[in-house]
């Protein structure tokens, strides 16, 4: 069986469409983050691990009445509690959350209050499945750490590509990754899903995947450049994309299937994680063809216009 045999698409000829497409999605992402920022002070909905606060996940033996639970918390004098049905309604699970407690020594009192309030209303008909109490200090630390980890991993990959290819390759790949991250995070802001620590892991994975896709194309460009030095760069890039297209589509398709299986079967805890990957893999595949490769050509054309010698951005080192 074979798909995509002898494809010959002029990808670079469509670069303005790609640019428009990327701009629309990036701007949509930025706008939804800005909107979210103006409402909440954060660009994206943050999970309890970053935001701080208390979250108690409770499973009831029967379908829980959210209004009754809300009333129970109000009667117990708990302020600002939010009660939502968690995951699939048939699991009878409810998520009760409290905003951040500024007083770290009283951190635990919220959890106790919630459990006590439920106990007085429901007796033993419920089961506390998961409790997260996060103080402001830890949330801030995690926020900083996640930001740094993303930054460092992009830098690390940039340096590696610089060493293996050329600086412009590294920059193009990192820009493509940034593009993917922006759009994926924007999707979280747009759909109102929370970014938790696990989602950060997913975003970092998608950075790795997007990079992976980009490198496969770059590798082929490098190889083709070595063989045909007189061909215009745009043609070489087009040919390289076409040659690797079947691999790109197959791998992305298969990875997409595994991630989809994670999204469907992975349960509520991995929902955000797999959502990020489902979006990220689509965007990551697109960006290696539509963002990273055209950037190489654009850079070379720009160098040409500047009147500088336009060396083909071929590999520094050749290994077969």
């Amino acid at each position: 069986m074979e798909l995509f045999h002898g494809v010959n698409v002029d990808w670079l000829g469509k670069k303005w469409y790609f640019l428009a497409f990327s701009m629309i999605f990036s701007v949509a992402g930025i706008l939804s983050m800005a909107t979210h920022w103006s409402h909440t002070g954060y660009p994206v909905p943050l999970g309890v691990d970053f935001r701080g606060g208390t979250e108690v996940q409770v499973q009831f033996s029967q379908t829980p009445d959210v209004a009754r639970i809300r009333q129970a918390t109000v009667e117990a004098g708990i302020k600002d509690a939010t009660v939502v049905v968690y995951d699939v309604p048939s699991s009878n699970e409810v998520l009760i959350s409290l905003p951040e407690q500024n007083n770290e020594s009283a951190l635990d009192s919220g959890r106790q209050q919630i459990v006590d309030a439920l106990q007085s209303h429901y007796g033993v008909q419920f089961n506390v499945r998961n409790v997260q109490v996060v103080g402001p200090t830890v949330g801030k630390q995690l926020e900083k750490q996640a930001g740094l980890a993303t930054l460092y991993s992009m830098l690390g990959m940039l340096v590696y590509l610089w060493f293996r290819f050329q600086l412009i390759y590294g920059i193009a790949a990192v820009v493509a990754c940034f593009h993917d991250t922006l759009i994926t995070v924007g999707a979280f802001a747009l759909t109102g899903q929370e970014i938790s620590l696990t989602v950060i892991a997913a975003i970092l994975t998608l950075v790795g995947y997007s990079m992976n896709d980009t490198i496969v194309v770059f590798d082929r460009i490098r190889e083709n450049l070595r063989m045909s030095r007189r061909e215009p760069l745009a043609d070489v890039v087009n040919r390289s994309i076409n040659q690797t297209l079947s691999r790109t589509v197959l791998t992305s398709g298969l990875t997409f299937l595994t991630v989809l299986s994670l999204y469907i079967f992975g349960g509520p805890v991995l929902k955000g994680f797999s959502f990020a990957l489902v979006v990220g893999i689509l965007i990551g595949t697109y960006s290696s063809i539509a963002v990273a490769a055209p950037m190489l050509v654009a850079w070379q054309e720009w160098r040409g216009e500047q009147g500088k010698a336009a060396p083909l951005p071929a590999a520094k080192r050749a290994k077969a």
């Binding site: 069986m1 074979e2 770290e104 020594s105 951190l107 635990d108 959890r111 089961n127 499945r129 998961n130 997260q132 109490v133 996060v134 103080g135 200090t137 830890v138 995690l142 750490q145 980890a149 460092y152 991993s153 690390g156 990959m157 590696y160 590509l161 293996r164 620590l197 950060i200 892991a201 997913a202 970092l204 994975t205 950075v207 790795g208 995947y209 990079m211 992976n212 490198i215 082929r220 190889e223 690797t244 691999r247 197959l250 791998t251 298969l254 299937l257 595994t258 991630v259 299986s261 994670l262 469907i264 079967f265 992975g266 349960g267 805890v269 991995l270 994680f273 797999s274 290994k319 077969a320």
Partner: protein, 538 residues
């Protein structure tokens, strides 16, 4: 060539066996149950999968610094008295700066003597300012000394919490420094879902101290203040205590005690509960030698006076000193059995050098953990099966190569987890699934390349050769970049991110072996059987 191939196959089988051992160890039997038990004893599950409590504690290190400077205040008082140098008071001017001590009202004539005395005795730990014609001196703990003290405090707190957690019988607890913040401790308690009991033991930050009583008990703070003329002197403090121990009533009462303790926390060597001659429960304690000497000096000089046992910032007992005590004593009082147990357990495991605050607390119920395992494993199995089926359809016989390589990849990955004792978390399972994706990618890269070479008219073995050679460069680049980012995640990440980085790194390393080496060997075995001119099935 054939012999060479046999060696390669032997190597692959050996690797398979070694990593199967990594996963299962030597199972007691081959039944499903025995294998499952063997598996669960080798692969450590994270708290999110097995259920348990995860706490982050902040050690209030300033308390330890404060205790140390309190001690120094006491020593300076003694030294100056011994040298017959007069002063009006020695105190710590700012509660927020526990590292600074002031000595005031030194007679101008003896100022330089006092300065040189303090300089010789304390200059290794304190910076000395003032003095000369000035009548006051300030001692500030050196930043390096303070840092060392804080580090030691955190270390001690970790040891103490560890001992306490162990005394509770929690299996495989983890108590370690938490790298994200200064002076923080991470505590992981698998299988614990009722935190209240554990917390009450861990959090008994209650430093046990014995203070000299200046006055009390008073019914309230106003009365206590009145007794010292409206303001508590700098070297004394006001401590509340339930009247239970002293008077038998529950009413709150207030004592004025000397700020500097006679013995405290780490001065206690051991403690046990016992019963006194009247049948009342009490706690017998033993002091360290050094503290015993100090205690002896104090008690022999103060026979007939009172001392207060202060725990957790409250007076728990007030005792009259009947005779000099050296290194052992009893704390009497109407303790409840639980109180005696907690107290003696705490003293035995060492008192905490400073209080602990909770910064974070996550408890995953065992049922949620079990659900998560089921969901994660289902997702992984469905993902693998879909991918394997697709490879068989799309690449025909060569799909078998890919599927075998994929299977071996998973075995090696899990074996690594077993050997290294790394923890499998829910994001870790996600990492496994992503490894499958990368593994497939390598195979697809190689196979597509072989197809290209065949299309270009190469013979079977040359096409396979070229396909692997070209794809190898790409595979190295993609794997190294991903490993670079996984390693950075491992270094800078914590908790779930780390678990993810671990499986991803192991998986990618295994993939370099399986997708390239193993798949290649299977191709060679296949090529050997081909008739001349026949093509590989791809």
């Amino acid at each position: 060539m054939k012999k060479n191939l046999k060696n390669k196959i032997a190597l692959i089988i050996a690797v398979l066996l070694i990593f199967l051992y990594g996963i299962f160890g030597i199972p007691s039997g081959l039944s499903g149950k025995a294998l499952e038990n063997a598996l669960s004893s080798r692969i450590h599950l994270g708290l999110d999968l097995r259920g348990g409590a995860h706490l982050i504690l902040q050690v209030v290190v300033s308390e330890a610094v404060s205790a140390e400077t309190d001690n120094t205040v006491g020593r300076i008082q003694q030294d100056l008295k011994a040298a017959n140098l007069t002063y009006s008071q020695i105190y710590k001017p700012d509660p927020n700066k526990p590292e600074t001590i002031r000595v005031e009202g030194i007679a101008p004539a003896s100022a330089s003597a006092a300065r040189s005395l303090l300089d010789t005795k304390y200059s290794s730990e304190y910076d000395l300012t003032g003095g000369g014609s000035d009548t006051s001196l300030a001692l500030t703990m050196k930043p390096l000394v303070e840092k060392a003290l804080e580090d030691k405090t955190v270390q001690q707190a970790i040891e103490t919490v560890n001992d306490r957690v162990n005394s509770l019988g929690v299996s495989e607890p983890k108590v370690a420094p938490y790298s994200l913040g200064a002076d923080q401790i991470l505590v992981e308690l698998p299988g614990v879902s009722d935190l209240d009991r554990v917390k009450s033991i861990i959090q008994s930050t209650a430093r046990l101290e014995i203070h000299a009583v200046v006055g009390g008990p008073f019914p309230d703070e106003t009365a206590a203040l009145a007794s010292v003329g409206g303001a508590v002197p700098g070297d004394q403090e006001m401590v509340h205590g339930s009247g239970t121990l002293a008077t038998g009533s529950d009413a709150d009462s207030v004592y004025i005690v000397q700020r500097v303790s006679v013995v405290a926390g780490s001065d206690f060597r051991s403690a046990d509960s016992s019963t006194d001659q009247n049948g009342l429960r009490d706690v017998r304690f033993t002091l360290t030698n050094e503290a015993g000497d100090k205690f002896y000096d104090y008690t022999s000089a103060n026979v007939g006076k009172s001392m207060a046992v202060v725990m957790g910032g409250r007076v728990r007992e007030v005792a009259n000193i009947k005779s000099a005590i050296r290194d052992s004593g009893e704390i009497e009082g109407s303790f409840s059995p639980e109180e005696v147990e907690v107290l003696s357990k705490m003293l035995r495991t060492g008192a905490l050098p400073a209080s602990l605050n909770y910064l974070e607390d996550r408890t995953v119920g065992a049922s949620l953990g079990a659900d998560s395992i089921r969901a994660g494993v289902t997702a992984a199995i469905v993902g693998v099966l879909v991918v394997m089926a697709f490879m068989l359809i799309y690449y025909r016989s060569s799909g078998i190569n890919a599927d075998l390589a994929l299977f071996l990849n998973l075995v090696i990955l899990l074996g690594f987890m077993g050997f290294s004792g790394a923890t499998l978390t829910l994001p870790g399972i996600a990492g496994v699934i992503l490894t499958i994706g990368m593994g497939v990618d390598s195979n697809v890269l190689i196979f597509e390349r072989i197809r290209e070479e065949i299309r270009a008219g190469k013979a079977a073995s040359a096409a396979v050769d070229q396909g692997f050679a070209h794809a190898w460069v790409t595979i190295v680049d993609t794997h190294v970049t991903t490993i670079v980012s996984a390693a950075i995640l491992f270094l800078f990440g914590s908790g779930p991110v780390k678990g993810f980085a671990v499986t991803l790194t192991f998986g990618l390393a295994a993939n370099l072996f399986t997708a390239v080496y193993v798949s290649r060997v299977i191709f060679e075995a296949h090529l050997n059987r081909l008739k001349p001119g026949e093509m590989v099935s791809i």
